[in-house]
């Protein structure tokens, strides 16, 4: 089916987007309705349009817990998918995901430090994670750039090496900290549990960043032919790499700092988008954002409800569904 659509993508693009947007609305709606406090579909719209009423406890739950959590999931899903899509294009590497930059490991180390020195979660966990992510971004950027040129291989290797280093430091901290191991691991696996409007406010940074790669969709297409060919065709390759790497790393840092390390979305979703509408970035980036949001909201829904009343980390859910799906794709794709 996908092959048929991809082969005639000019014809089907509008349909694909219409169906995807419908799916997004439907999943969001479902996520808003389902939960420990059940909200009927009619009530969902009611709550949204009338605003929070302190008299109704379900409305309070809806406004203070469920709605911000779902908004956050939508944004983080979009951010991780887009970051993955950009990096796969930039690095010409189908295995790239937001975490190859090392930014997530930096953020994880930051969060571990915050837990280790027993700072209160709010806001310090997020602040430390963000700081760790950004410092790593600067480090990787600095290591990969020489004479004004960013070397993609050095970038990948620096990211992976720093990840190992951070992991080692983190391991020492975990051993030293004793009882907090559980909290750290829970954070590392990624979750939207307990996140509220504060995290949403931080994550609002994601929205303008989501727009940036669309200004470079032609350049990203051309870069799939390799950096040298892109230069020959007139692309200022260094500029494009610099901007998109920073944007992808920022998207990752923000996502990780508000929700931990949620795996697989950034790897699989761009592949899925490419599978449906081909490699052209104008469509592929947009579709990645939409798919990323859908996948994240549904994964969070599963994370909240599968073993209710206890929650499982959403990162576990994404891997659980993502890994078999990805393997299935690998088997089906020729070459």
């Amino acid at each position: 089916m996908f092959q048929e659509i991809r082969a005639n993508r000019d014809k089907y693009t509008a349909w694909v987007f219409a169906v995807t947007v419908a799916l997004l609305l439907l999943s969001t709606f479902a996520a808003l309705a389902v939960g420990p406090a059940r909200v009927t579909p009619g009530k969902v719209l009611d709550y949204i349009f009338t605003g929070r009423s302190t008299g109704d406890p379900v409305s309070v739950v809806f406004w203070t817990i469920r709605l911000p959590r779902i908004i956050l999931a939508l944004m983080v899903g979009a951010a991780l998918a887009l970051a993955g899509a950009c990096l796969q294009g930039l690095l010409l590497n189908p295995l790239a995901d937001p975490y190859v930059t090392g930014v997530s490991s930096g953020a994880a180390l930051g969060a571990t430090v915050a837990i280790f020195i027993k700072l209160p979660d709010i806001p310090w966990l997020t602040v430390f994670a963000m700081a760790g992510g950004l410092l790593t971004l600067f480090a990787v950027y600095g290591i990969a750039t020489r004479h004004g040129k960013m070397n993609i291989y050095r970038l990948l290797l620096a990211g992976v090496t720093l990840s190992y280093l951070f992991f080692a430091i983190q391991a020492i901290l975990l051993i030293k900290s004793g009882n907090d191991v559980h909290r750290v691991i829970y954070w590392l696996l990624g979750s939207f549990s307990g996140r509220g409007w504060n995290e949403v406010k931080i994550a609002l940074v994601i929205l303008p960043l989501l727009a940036v790669p669309f200004f470079f969709s032609d350049e990203l297409d051309i870069l799939l032919q390799g950096e040298e060919r892109a230069l020959e065709l007139g692309v200022e390759v260094e500029h494009v790499k610099r901007v998109l790497f920073v944007v992808a790393a920022l998207l990752t840092a923000v996502s990780v700092s508000v929700s931990g390390i949620i795996g697989f979305v950034g790897l699989v979703v761009p592949h899925l988008a490419r599978l449906v509408l081909g490699p052209g970035h104008r469509r592929m980036l947009m579709l990645s954002i939409l798919f990323g949001s859908i996948v994240m909201v549904l994964s969070d829904l599963v994370a909240r409800t599968a073993f209710a009343p206890s929650e499982i980390p959403v990162g576990v859910v994404t891997v659980f569904f993502g890994a078999p799906f990805f393997l299935f794709l690998l088997r089906r794709r020729p070459g």
């Binding site: 032609d218 297409d221 799939l224 020959e232 065709l233 007139g234 490419r274």
Partner: protein, 406 residues
């Protein structure tokens, strides 16, 4: 003002010099090919022209401005590169690939569509197929189309046809000729020297990073320069108004055996070439001028005695032949038909044999004797070695050489 001007340009890859002090002007409308052995700096030169590399010394000027000062987009509108091969692991259609060439004209009003280019190259029907499902030749047409979509002033091609079959090769070069006629400047790196001779009038030859020669292609590709640059022995042939080259395999150590070939009418040309390739010193006589054997001997640069075309061998030529053959160790009479015009060549065989020189002859003279004299003459030759073919003649000569060298 030259479109591309190299002034004393030098470039090294990590201290390994690739180009040394190259100066070259490419004018608008030029149709230039660049030749030279592997590693002589041809591709480096293209990359310098395109600003991909910056010279360590000297300068590259495009329309009077250093290439490195151009924005990539402006450079892409001036020069387009056609690479040797081109890989794309993604599922774009051929048309999308060509459209990427329009990038440097993005946002311009009245931008031309790629349709005209596709039509020009005769690949419209293929345009909506996935690029990766096309054959190598078809793909290269689209890579060329991508470069043309840049609407450049000059095309720089790096071995554009080396992976292609002869039909696609010719269609690419035919197209380049037509584009050039419309004013497109073309600079093409080529390994195939005969393809170069077929299509180009101007050439530049690089050798060890230096400009070895530049100018009219037949002068640039002279046997002398090919010998010093490629270290091979080449012969230039002219046939029906075209020049082409053939190459001798690398010589084995010299046999130091001198062979005199008595031939004519093309019966000696193949043996001549084989013996030269094997390292024998070969001399030839008497042959008529313009005869295939005479032409071949001249191309190979062999000492020879020639008679005017279609003329009976004169006494002077006969004596000259005996003298030339006198310094040889062995004489060979090929399967040349004998008539009254060249009967003297059989006399020569007789005289040489009587003087004690070993003589080989291809057997079966009765069948090609039109004088009723030659067969008898030859039958009286003492110790005549009869062989049935060129192969046997070569085998016999190898034996003689081995026994004499021991």
């Amino acid at each position: 003002m030259a479109l591309i001007r190299l002034e004393g340009a030098s470039f090294s890859y990590d201290a390994v010099p690739a180009l040394k002090d190259v100066s070259l002007d490419v004018e608008k409308g030029d149709f230039l090919c660049m030749v030279g052995p592997n590693g002589s700096g041809k591709s480096t030169l293209l990359k310098l022209m395109d600003g991909m590399l910056v010279p360590d010394e000297g300068s590259i000027l495009l329309g009077g401005r250093p290439a490195s000062q151009y924005r990539r987009r402006d450079l892409a509108r001036k020069l387009a590169i056609v690479p040797q091969s081109y890989a794309l692991d993604f599922d774009f259609t051929a048309r999308e690939v060509v459209e990427m060439g329009r990038y440097c004209h993005r946002g311009e009003a009245g931008a031309r569509s790629v349709a005209g280019i596709l039509d020009r190259l005769g690949v419209v029907e293929l345009a909506d197929r996935p690029f990766n499902e096309l054959s190598g030749g078809e793909r290269q047409m689209f890579v060329l189309a991508q470069a043309l979509a840049q609407e450049p002033e000059a095309l720089l091609l790096d071995e554009p046809a080396s992976h292609l079959d002869v039909s696609h090769q010719l269609s690419i070069f035919d197209l380049l000729v037509r584009l050039n006629a419309e004013g497109m400047t073309v600079v093409c790196v080529l390994h195939d020297l005969n393809l170069a001779l077929l299509y180009f009038k101007e050439a530049a030859m690089l050798y060890e990073g230096k400009l070895f020669a530049a100018g009219a292609i037949e002068e640039v590709l002279s046997p002398d320069s090919l010998a010093s640059v490629y270290g091979v022995e080449a012969q230039v042939h002219k046939h029906a108004g075209r020049a082409y080259l053939t190459f001798s395999p690398r010589r084995r150590p010299a046999r130091k055996l001198k062979v005199h070939l008595i031939c004519g009418g093309g019966t000696g040309a193949a043996l001549m070439r084989r013996l030269v390739d094997l390292g024998y010193f070969v001399s030839v006589g008497v042959v008529n001028a313009m005869d295939t054997d005479e032409v071949t001997a001249r191309e190979l640069g062999l000492p020879l005695v020639a008679e005017a075309p279609f003329t009976t061998i004169t006494e002077d030529a006969y004596r000259e032949n005996i003298e030339l053959a006198g310094s040889a160790d062995v004489a060979v009479l090929t399967a040349v038909p004998i008539g009254s015009g060249n009967l003297k060549n059989v006399n020569a065989v007789r005289e040489l044999a009587d003087g004690g020189m070993p003589v080989l002859a291809i057997a079966g003279i009765e069948g090609r004797d039109f004088t009723e004299e030659a067969s008898g003459l030859l039958a009286g030759v003492p110790k005549l070695g009869l062989v049935s073919s060129d192969d046997e003649a070569v085998g016999a000569l190898e034996e003689i050489w081995e026994s004499s060298s021991c």
